[in-house]
Symmetry: C2
Subunit: 212 residues, 2 copies
């Protein structure tokens, strides 16, 4: 029976399931059991069945799960059949790399605008888009109604620009800023990516390893 509230731990595992199921599909798998999937992913079969059953009954007793079907269901749960318009603030190294590197289409988004304050960068081509001046964000949003935004701007601008984007109708932030975005406007989402923190945990690991 499907649950009403899904725990964060489950949500974080969904994209990974989706990814593994895609690989299995590409390798010609038609069916898979929770036991076999657990083995491949380094989880327990119990956990996998619990996770899926948060959303419905996708399997069949005695058979397992149909790979394509299950992947489709998880894709729908993740909203990957959608195509939410997204903009990027900050066309520096990282911003440009994300614009070029991320497969937005297969993750439920479409990148439709890139902005920077630096006149040197304005007009520069990044993939299919041309960097626009930050001053035109309002008019652009008024016309094109993006719903999500990537933040690749300096820490000190983050609070101000976020406020501004919320006023432009942005509802979801993918934040690469060194600023901990933790706003609680009702109905505004934040996904913080602290690459520095991630690297730091690696340093911790090496440090404690040495001491053993």
């Amino acid at each position: 029976m499907s649950k009403t509230t899904i725990s964060n731990s489950v949500i974080r595992r969904l994209p990974r399931y989706y990814r593994f199921l895609g690989d299995l599909e590409a390798n010609g798998y038609v069916r898979i059991s929770s036991r076999e999937l657990a083995e491949k992913m380094g989880l327990t079969a119990s956990q996998i069945r619990q996770d899926f059953n948060c959303f419905g009954e996708f399997g069949q007793q005695g058979y397992g799960y149909n790979v394509t079907e299950l992947r489709g269901e998880i894709g729908k749960i993740l909203g990957l059949d959608k195509c939410t318009p997204m903009i990027l603030l900050g066309a520096g190294n990282l911003g440009r790399a994300l614009a070029a590197h991320i497969d937005f289409d297969n993750r439920g988004f479409k990148l439709i605008g890139i902005f920077d304050v630096d006149p040197e960068l304005v007009g520069r081509r990044v993939g299919e888009l041309e960097v626009m001046s930050s001053s035109s964000i309002e008019s652009f949003c008024h016309e094109n109604h993006p719903i999500a935004a990537i933040l690749c701007i300096p820490k000190d601008d983050a609070a101000k620009e976020t406020e501004r984007l919320i006023n432009c109708g942005i509802k979801a932030f993918w934040n690469f800023t060194h600023y901990d975005l933790r706003l609680s406007y009702r109905g505004v989402l934040v996904e913080n990516v602290h690459l520095g923190d991630s690297l730091t945990t690696l340093s911790y690991g090496l440090n404690t390893m040495d001491k053993k």
Copy 2:
């Protein structure tokens, strides 16, 4: 009393403590109580005290914690006083952006070499370094002994290159590949960063928000 095994949840919070304490220090804070820090970080005072006490007694009853001192202790725990030599594999968009964008020095690392298979990229300057040919990895490692590596290479090369780097003495991987690095060579660390998965959870959030 300090614990022997530290849970992963605690470890993941350490870099964030370190970051917040840095901000506090920059803003002239000398002391802070667990209650006040909890408020700023969106945690509970209990949790903060529990976390710190995994490593020792850093506070003082009736006073709280000395900001600079506590930050220093956490920095030491994280190994930020070290300077582990690190190399980068893959000088594409993302690789170059990381090389330029990440503050390695303040996270316990030093980037000392960048490699790519593409002859077009070899010789290109990225920050202070020049991209080298992947074929010279072995000789470079033999001479310079890097301990950590960033993987920004295609998914299909990940398994092979990882193996190769382990043979060169690499002990820690910061993996941006779409490949789930989950090797269990004794004494080899992996930090997987799945940017696509992170964006996908944002899609999930928007998708479920809409349905309410």
